[in-house]
């Protein structure tokens, strides 16, 4: 992020304003039992950090996100390459995932729980499901938009189809794949929250859902803060990491 000095000040100031507004609205517009004051949330946050519970919730959620994301990306990219490269594969797969991608991961949770039980497998499945479709679509779009002239140039130089995929198609599709990865990451966050809210005893989503059952609204806001912060941080890290890779395409990170 490039920032001028005044916009850096505003960046910090904007969060202060939000905190003040939050503090003022709690107890006046909203009942404190529903929207607690930020200082109460901070106290509970410190408690959770001190007892180590916070880290176990974060760790559990992140492990799920990481594994689910990995599985989803592997499946999605390989199907996407296949679908992008072969017209027949496209006609075979399109009707099926055109249908499934409209079924949100949340809706699948009851089914997944009854098949896999409330163990970890079901959570990985939900997260992988959330990440797969966006990977398929982006990878396939990247492959189909490979300039035909590059493929022909490689063919003229005697490259076989494996070499063309490795050295021409994948590099050309790379910006699209990166966009897909970034979207898939945010979809994984959605998936994990949904899965943990409906069936789990640990994790950030559980923290949010449980707070309504034990009437401790501070828990929920700790969960919101964690989601916001980690979503933001992973996104920034991702931008930092791919910024270098995109330089050779003369694209800025803003483009993805």
């Amino acid at each position: 992020m490039t920032m001028t000095k005044s916009s850096k000040h505003r960046f910090i100031l904007s969060f202060l304003i939000i905190l003040v507004l939050w503090w003022l609205s709690s107890g006046t517009i909203f009942v404190e039992g529903i929207v607690p004051k930020p200082n109460d949330v901070a106290v509970l946050f410190a408690d959770l950090v001190a007892s180590g519970k916070l880290f176990s919730h974060i760790f559990v959620s992140f492990k799920r996100i990481f594994l689910g994301f990995l599985i989803g990306v592997l499946c999605g990219t390989s199907i996407g390459l296949l679908v992008g490269a072969y017209g027949v594969a496209r006609t075979i797969f399109t009707p099926i995932f055109e249908f499934f991608r409209n079924i949100p991961p949340v809706a699948l949770i009851p089914l997944v729980v009854s098949i896999f039980g409330i163990g970890e497998t079901g959570k990985y499945f939900i997260i992988a499901y959330a990440a797969t479709f966006v990977m398929i679509i982006n990878t396939a779009a990247g492959v189909t938009s490979t300039p035909a002239i590059r493929v022909r140039a490689a063919q003229c130089l005697g490259a076989n189809s494996l070499q063309i995929v490795r050295w021409v198609v994948i590099p050309s599709a790379w910006p699209y794949i990166l966009t897909g990865l970034r979207l898939a990451l945010s979809f994984s966050f959605m998936g994990v929250v949904a899965a943990e809210m409906l069936a789990a005893d640990e994790g950030i989503g559980f923290l949010i859902m449980q707070s309504t059952n034990i009437l401790r609204p501070e828990d929920m806001f700790v969960g919101f803060v964690l989601l916001g912060t980690f979503g933001f941080l992973t996104d920034q890290l991702f931008k930092l990491a791919v910024g270098k890779m995109l330089r050779r395409y003369m694209l800025g990170v803003e483009n993805i």
């Binding site: 969060f15 006609t91 399109t94 949100p104 949340v106 809210m197 409906l198 929920m220 916001g228 979503g231």
Partner: protein, 259 residues
């Protein structure tokens, strides 16, 4: 095209056969019923009007929530896009809030707005408004400078520039935001209905799990896929009409470009 239709129908047929074999041989039919039973259930439920009732309940919520989310989202997005001061103040919090998914908001919405329709609208508006704001603002910020300068040279006032240059230029971005938001609206309504409702497709799915009615759950999932597909197709159709002047075509078939 005819050949493609044939292949598509064949792949759906193969999918159904695999589903049938899996359900008969590997899974307990109480968990995954064979497709023929689900089809029977769909007919049964649509005959007595129950299916239509639940689908309409969900659709109505989405229509109301999505409408208000889009109206507010476009308004806020335009304001953020036009004023760099507002952008500096509102963008950082938005970058945080966008990571809090509509699903996570459901318990809070229920607590604050009760079990009635209001909480569902809040969840849908929340899911809709954020992608719409972000895309609208991006669209307005990325209007080519040269167009604005051209208009200025021709003596346009600031208001005229906004109306005739900035807003039309940002249309493609706004439409992308609206399309994304529609997906989030459906996700939100399903989550809200699953956690607290007595009507709607989300309720249908959740209730069938509690009452061990797997056919009903698959009916719900089927309807979600169908409605999502129909609304997305309609949206693409409208976008393609509107976008013709921008010479951008969003292809059907899930965004693939045709080669």
């Amino acid at each position: 095209m005819n050949r493609n239709h044939l292949i598509s129908s064949f792949s759906i047929f193969v999918f159904l056969v695999i589903w049938h074999l899996m359900s008969v041989n590997y899974f307990n039919p109480i968990l995954i019923p064979p497709p023929i039973k689900v089809a029977a259930k769909i007919f049964e439920m649509s005959e007595d009007g129950e299916l239509f009732f639940h689908v309409w309940a969900s659709l109505y919520r989405v229509i109301v929530g999505y409408f208000w989310g889009c109206v507010m989202g476009v308004a806020i997005g335009v304001a953020i896009g036009l004023s760099s001061l507002l952008n500096d103040y509102l963008d950082p919090p938005m970058q945080f809030v966008r990571n809090i998914t509509p699903v996570a908001i459901v318990p809070l919405a229920i607590h604050a707005f009760g079990l009635d329709e209001a909480s569902k609208y809040v969840v849908i508006i929340y899911g809709t408004i954020i992608p719409v704001i972000l895309n609208t603002a991006t669209g307005i910020i990325s209007v080519p400078k040269i167009r604005i300068q051209a208009a200025q040279c021709l003596g346009a006032s600031r208001f005229e520039i906004i109306k005739k240059v900035v807003l039309p230029s940002s249309w493609p971005f706004v439409l992308t935001g609206l399309r994304l938001a529609l997906g989030f609206a459906f996700m939100g309504v399903v989550a809200a209905e699953m956690i607290a409702a007595d009507t709607g497709v989300g309720f249908l799915i959740m209730q069938s799990r509690n009452m061990l009615l797997p056919e009903q759950m698959f009916t719900g999932l089927f309807m979600l896929g169908l409605i999502g597909m129909a609304t997305d197709r309609t949206f693409q159709f409208i976008i393609n009409k509107v976008m013709r002047r921008y010479m951008i075509l969003i292809m059907a078939e899930s965004g693939f470009k045709k080669t």
